[in-house]
């Protein structure tokens, strides 16, 4: 039996698990697979748009509607949670101030606000001018499109990560861990790069935090990594670091097994049922943190008739009929994706000892307003602190 079972290992699950294990509790983290940070841009959004671009996310939190996940947490606690994540991971991984958004170019050339970024990225904030260098063998970095939208110049290098002409960013990042390859890469970039105050490169500068500095030094001018679609190397760095910290602090992990049910006792969850090879196991704990994701992970489902459900605990959702929540305008808000579970002030739903964190919580279309990681860590810390505070 553990003190806490955490379900899910995205930003919310990992944050809650780490906070709890560092407080001295025994924590078992169970996840049906990998996921979360590895699919994201690798920064920490607090609030980017509301709907106009936000400069100070904490100030903007006060204006959010009552049903928003931040509303019952408040700007101060959001700030503390985000700062905790930054300080836990350290400045080799996350820098920035939750009260002040960076504005960083995306790989297609939009200027995108985010609160905490990786040190390898922040030179791109408010640069006087840019230049872009892409890699022929990396199809996920459209250098000319990016340069065109920024109004700067682009160049290419021809340097496969290995024999093939088509490598993912992750493959390149692994190659760059080899100092010999990194040197060739940096030399090629330096030779090809057009003039510009900050040189934008695809986010492939090593899988380990800190490797990018060696590349930057060898290129010999300011560079900034630009995140791309999955496999997201910056996201992988954050995920790996958080998971390693959790395990180093004594946390236990089961990956690849789904929680398929639970056993309850009065108004409490007594155990969750894990499907392992050939059978099931009951994982008992005093408290449970449910951070399974939202629609993307399938924690919230929509059946072929449009019925929305949370099938594991049967938690009540803010809406149950998808048919009226999705419409023809691609660019408009999609109310469907704001559907989720509402919690009490401690972060609980349905059971006294079941705490929710992350995308499962109702009230925000995260990708639209750029708030995913912030909501994840703020609700995760709330859950952890509620448990640590010994709420009955």
């Amino acid at each position: 039996m553990s003190d806490v079972v955490v379900i899910g290992l995205g930003p919310a699950g990992l944050s809650a698990a780490l906070k709890l294990v560092e407080s001295g509790r025994s924590v078992l983290l169970a996840a049906k697979g990998e996921g979360g940070f590895q699919l994201s841009q690798g920064t920490v959004d607090v609030l980017g748009y509301s709907p106009g671009r936000v400069a100070n996310p904490l100030a903007a939190i006060g204006e959010l509607p009552a049903g928003h996940p931040y509303a019952s947490i408040g700007a101060e606690k959001v700030r503390d949670a985000v700062a905790w994540l930054r300080d836990t991971l350290g400045e080799e991984l996350l820098v920035g101030d939750p009260a002040q958004n960076y504005v960083l170019p995306t790989a297609v050339g939009a200027m995108r606000p985010t609160a905490l970024a990786q040190p390898s990225m922040v030179a791109a904030h408010q640069a006087a001018s840019y230049a872009v260098v892409g890699v022929r063998q990396l199809k996920d970095f459209p250098a000319e499109l990016l340069a065109g939208n920024l109004g700067c110049r682009a160049a290419w290098i021809d340097l496969p990560a290995r024999r093939e002409v088509d490598s993912s960013g992750h493959m390149f990042a692994r190659a760059i861990e080899d100092p010999a390859y990194a040197k060739r890469f940096a030399a090629a970039v330096a030779a090809a790069a057009p003039d510009g105050a900050v040189l934008l490169l695809p986010a492939i500068l090593g899988v380990k935090p800190g490797t990018w500095r060696r590349v930057a030094d060898q290129v010999g001018r300011p560079i900034a990594e630009v995140p791309m679609q999955p496999p997201s190397v910056p996201g992988i760095r954050l995920h790996d670091a958080l998971l390693a910290k959790f395990k180093a602090a004594g946390g236990r992990v089961i990956i690849g097994s789904r929680v398929v049910g639970c056993k309850t006792n009065g108004g409490r969850v007594a155990s969750v049922t894990l499907a392992v090879a050939g059978g099931t196991r009951d994982l008992r704990a005093t408290d449970f943190v449910f951070a399974p994701g939202g629609f993307a992970s399938g924690a919230i489902t929509v059946d072929s008739r449009g019925k929305i459900s949370e099938p594991l605990f049967g938690l009540p959702l803010t809406q149950t009929d998808a048919n009226t929540l999705i419409g023809p305008d691609y660019w408009a808000p999609h109310p469907l994706f704001e559907v989720g579970v509402e919690t009490d002030a401690a972060g609980r739903a349905k059971y006294e000892n079941l705490y929710l964190a992350g995308d499962i919580i109702a009230g925000a279309e995260r990708w639209r307003e750029k708030s995913g990681e912030g909501i994840a860590v703020a609700t995760a810390v709330r859950a952890a602190e509620s448990i640590m505070g010994g709420r009955a």
């Binding site: 699919l39 050339g109 939009a110 995108r112 996920d140 939208n149 088509d166 679609q229 008739r305």
Partner: protein, 526 residues
Amino acid sequence: MKSLEADVVVIGGGSTGVGVVRDAAMRGYRAVLLERADLGQGTTARFHGLLHSGGRYVVSDPQSATECAEENAILKRIQADAVEDTGGFFVVTPGDDPGFADKFLAGAAATGVPAREIAVAEALRREPLLNPGILRAIEVEDGSVDGWQLVWGAARSAQAYGATVLTYHKVVGIERERDRVSAVLARDVKGGEDVRINCGFVLNCAGPWAGQVAALAGLHDVNVVAGRGIMVAMNHRLVNTVINRCVYPTDGDILVPVHTVSIIGTTDVKEDDPDVLAIPRVEVQEMLDAGEKLIPSFRDARALHAWSGARPLIKDDRVAATDTRHMSRGMAVLDHAARDGLNGMLTIGGGKLTTYRLMAEHIVDAMCEQMGDTERKCRTADEPVPGSENRKLYQVTHRLEEAEEDRFTDPIICECELLRRSVLVKAMKEQPDATLDDIRRQTRLGMGPCQGGFCSTRAAGIAVAEKVVDAERATGLLRLFLKNRWIGLWPILAGDQVRQTALDHWIIQGTYDVEHLPQPEKEVVL
């Protein structure tokens, strides 16, 4: 204003139009085809993907059945690259009248449609997802066909014979000199010149829009009823054989494997405006129910995309105006000389894709007769179109095989549909004005499970890298592509496709923030 000379102008770039322009060009006429959008964007490419064996009509429309059987064999010969020889089953599902199968077999024999009853166990062995309760199964020679490859194959053949094919040219006027057609005026909707084509003959093959086109010649009583039907593509080939219900034709009674998806369809509802075709939720549910009859686990499978197409049916007096299914499926040729005193114009309506070549043969024969050119004979059945010369039928494994061979030299841009960069770039360079949807129709970009989530930004990037467009237009094309994909997604969003959409939004909006790219002054729409 540009000026062209032609013997015949063909209006409408669907299967009828391209079939006609090919036939006319092969018979030596100087021919121009005008299509207001991309080829096949009307009815043809919105259809089911079915190359009929004729089985569907052996009881309800015997003449059609025989024609389908004959043309099925011909198209497998001349447009092999667009046709997959999937074979088909007609199955009696629980609740259907098992006696109908006997009528079916008798009708097949009478109409010359190859058909053979097989044991239910064999049908289930070959198609393990089929309803285990089926009572009888009959094997036929259905195939599946890629509508775009079909029309482009015919169009390229026409071009090889000297025809001019003008897409994105909307007809705005048909002129006459006294009682004879004299010219057609068209507008280049992508912003180029207008064009006047002096001609002696006009063939109105505009499908559901044929009435609107006829009106441009002053003919206001050509009534074409648009019978709208929806289709739903499921994410993978639930079956590798066309599955039909063995009943009198009804809604949702066919499931067709086409490329990497399987398509259930269709419905039949009269619509007033062929440019406004809804995909009503109730019809989507009907299609899922219909699929369940054939495959019990259908609702657990992943609905990928839906669309609507309008059958063009010449209104006739034998059935009520709103019941479109039982209108004659035969072609109708309206001779405006006899009907309206206007020489040199024919309007064709009705018909089906499988018999498009035959339809074209009839109309060009009619034109030849009017022009006194009866010695010019149709040869379209004799010669394969460009791309089909080796007579190799389409196989669904082919892209996988090619990707396996080329993977060290040719990056894969749309991974779901195994679209290699060289193929994408070739399509972009051949049509530098194309939208990403025009490219999609040629290459299947964005038509797989991720619906463009992973590949649309890559494609936009390549368009700029290859200097086909600048960054501003590429940005507009990207936005248009995403917007257009949504049309077929939101009506069927459920299950796995909701998860996919969420991930796609995380990427497109979350990571890339496409919504906040620099906005072009004018939104790109074409």
